[in-house]
Amino acid sequence: MAVETMPIATASAAIPRPRRESQFGLMWRRFRRHKLAVVSLWVAGLFYLVALLAEFLAPVEPSAYSARFTYAPPQGLHFLHHNEDGNWQFGPYVYGYKTEIDPVALRRTFVIDEAVRLPVSFLVESKPYRLMGFIPMSVKLMGVENPRDPFYILGADRLGRDMLSRLIHGTRISLSIGVAGVTLSLFFGIVIGGFAGYYGGWFDSAVMRVIEFIRSMPTIPLWLGLAAALPRDWSALQTYFAITIILSLIGWTELARVVRGRFLSLRTEDFVTAAQLDGASDWRIITRHMVPSFMSHIIAAATLAIPGMILAETALSFLGLGLQAPIVSWGTLLQDAQNIRTLATAPWLLAPGLCVVVVILAMNFFGDGLRDAADPHGR
């Protein structure tokens, strides 16, 4: 009788070991259940994409001006056209302008002229430029077919500069200052908070007093005072970095508190004691055992800190003490909207404000979702 034996070796090869989910895989799975957070991730991602591809997406240079079209209202972008034969015709276009004399203010104003349609085409040739400063390109996403025609999808400002292009370039500055500020804050936060939490003792209490002190100060007067001391003749890049540093001077406190709290709670965990008894060095314990176990928390806390940074930069630049004129950020753009009379004639100048609100909401929801997902004891 033949005994059927199953070759063990092949069997074990045939049944694959269940794939182990990585920590970030688990996090991602929990995160996906949070619908609002997922949508927010897409929104925030879209904004960062815009920031990255600013030169390609913006129809013109942010500083290109045209005295002929001051405060031209938004043209919008239209796709369907009902032509004379009664058919619908597809093809992107914008309306032209006609000028009218305002009978009250005796001022030339631009009115959308629906009789004139200026066709818009995508991927148009342009003057050569460098995408992100190093990729040579000579194609822009869109433009009017005749480059001499006006093209102001979101309207024009006081000098006839294209609002959309300025908004796109402003997105790059505002979003990047958020990330740069948080990165710097994170560095200080991890170093200072880590030392305080791991070693405790007098250093810990001193750091905590300093943090309490900084957090009890009203931030905007402090930031204003520091920003006002920046030399006026600094270049755009220098001001940019200086503002980042000023924002981080206060921003690090929140992250340091989070890091310290994590260190304190992990210091007495069994796996840390085990590593200490094994004779691992402090450096190894921190980098190999402790940091990986709270990295996700730190990332969530850092994400939640970005909106604050963006808001702070916007507020400072809005007041005129943050980034200065040649740099385009949402704050410097909103500076033009400070005057109520300007605002009444050109309400589209508030568009950067809308961007601020959307980005802040998205980053907050995304950060909340990330925080919930990073919590292993969560639902």
């Binding site: 002190f213 100060m217 007067p221 402090l222 006002a228 507020a315 605002l343 609100v357």
Partner: protein, 329 residues
């Protein structure tokens, strides 16, 4: 209780010293000292500069001496009520700011009151009627309220008022009441101007308070003592208001310590937008013209008021909550 209060007040005094050092550091930050810019300003207008006056001023402020000597001269002056001289206005700093500081304080105090008056009923409602339409509205409103920067809110409010009513908002008084004494019409005039900045300032804080109150109250409402009270036949409003709300209020009072700095910050920028005669616009102007003694005094006083407000809220909290009173001495 006295132990707790003295402890807090000592901590406050130390904080105040630190605040004054920071404020003085900001005064010192711009390149060049006060006198150089003063002389430059005088010469540019063609005025004669009397070397004796300069020498006097140099001695008075201790210019050219080490940092700590200058700081000491400045801070002892501050304690005596002498905040230095504004070279732009050519008047003592104190004369310039006390009225404006009073306006700031009034607006901020009203904002705190509005915050509480609005957040309390809404927060209780949102917690008691969890997942009702009103709760969702409160949650959504809270998120939006936190996401709109207050200066943007002020701008939008100004724009809407201009479009709908054709009025330009701004200021705290009509011109005819600007320098009048306090009287009933003047109070009315003040209130009709002040509602906008107060509303703007209170918005973010209200949103935050509603969120905290709702979360606290939800925790409390699940506790057994609430069920007991209900089982004993207490009317529902009494079940909610008598104990859970009181307990849920405690963390709320302690958040004043976090809200105040944000409120003072916000009032600076909102005042600039709405053109209020408060300390904010003056701070901004003094910083752009590098009138540093004025700027330093405003930064110092705003911070000092914040710190004192926080301490008062801490003491209030200790009065209400015995656990804090006895927990730390």
């Amino acid at each position: 209780m006295t132990g707790f209060i003295t402890h807090r007040i000592i901590a406050m005094l130390l904080t105040l010293v630190a605040v004054s050092i920071v404020a003085f550091a900001i005064i010192q930050l711009p390149p060049g000292d006060y006198l150089t810019s003063y002389i430059a300003a005088l010469s540019s207008t063609g005025d004669q500069v009397d070397p004796r006056v300069i020498e006097n001023l140099r001695r008075q402020y201790g210019l050219g001496e080490p940092f700590y000597v200058q700081y000491w001269k400045w801070v002892t002056g501050v304690v005596r009520g002498d905040f230095g001289h504004s070279f732009e206005w050519k008047r003592p700093v104190w004369e310039l700011i006390w009225g404006r500081l009073g306006n700031s304080l009034m607006i901020e105090g009203m904002a705190v009151m509005v915050m509480w008056l609005v957040a309390l009923p809404i927060g209780i409602y949102a917690a008691v009627r969890k997942y009702s339409l009103g709760d969702y509205l409160a949650t959504i409103g809270g998120f939006v309220g936190l996401a709109i920067p207050n200066f943007l809110f002020a701008l939008i409010l100004m724009y809407l008022a201009y479009i709908w009513f054709g009025t330009t908002m701004g200021g705290l008084f009509s011109p005819e009441f600007e320098n009048a004494r306090w009287s009933l019409p003047r109070i009315w005039d003040f209130l009709s101007h002040a509602w906008a900045p107060v509303l703007v300032l209170a918005m973010a804080g209200t949103a935050e308070l509603i969120r905290i109150l709702r979360a606290n109250l939800l925790d409390e409402l699940q506790k057994p003592y609430v069920t007991t009270a209900r089982a004993k036949g207490l009317p529902e409003w009494k079940v909610v208001l008598k104990y859970p709300v009181r307990l849920a209020l405690n963390p709320l009072i302690s958040t004043i310590g976090w809200l105040l700095p944000a409120l003072v910050s916000g009032s600076v920028i909102v005042s600039v937008v709405l053109n209020l005669p408060t300390a904010g616009p003056m701070l901004l102007r003094s910083l752009t013209t590098q009138d540093m003694y004025l700027a330093g005094a405003i930064i110092l006083l705003l911070s000092v008021l914040t710190v004192i407000g926080t301490v008062i809220s801490d003491i209030l909290l200790a009065l209400i909550d015995p656990r804090i009173r006895y927990g730390s001495k």
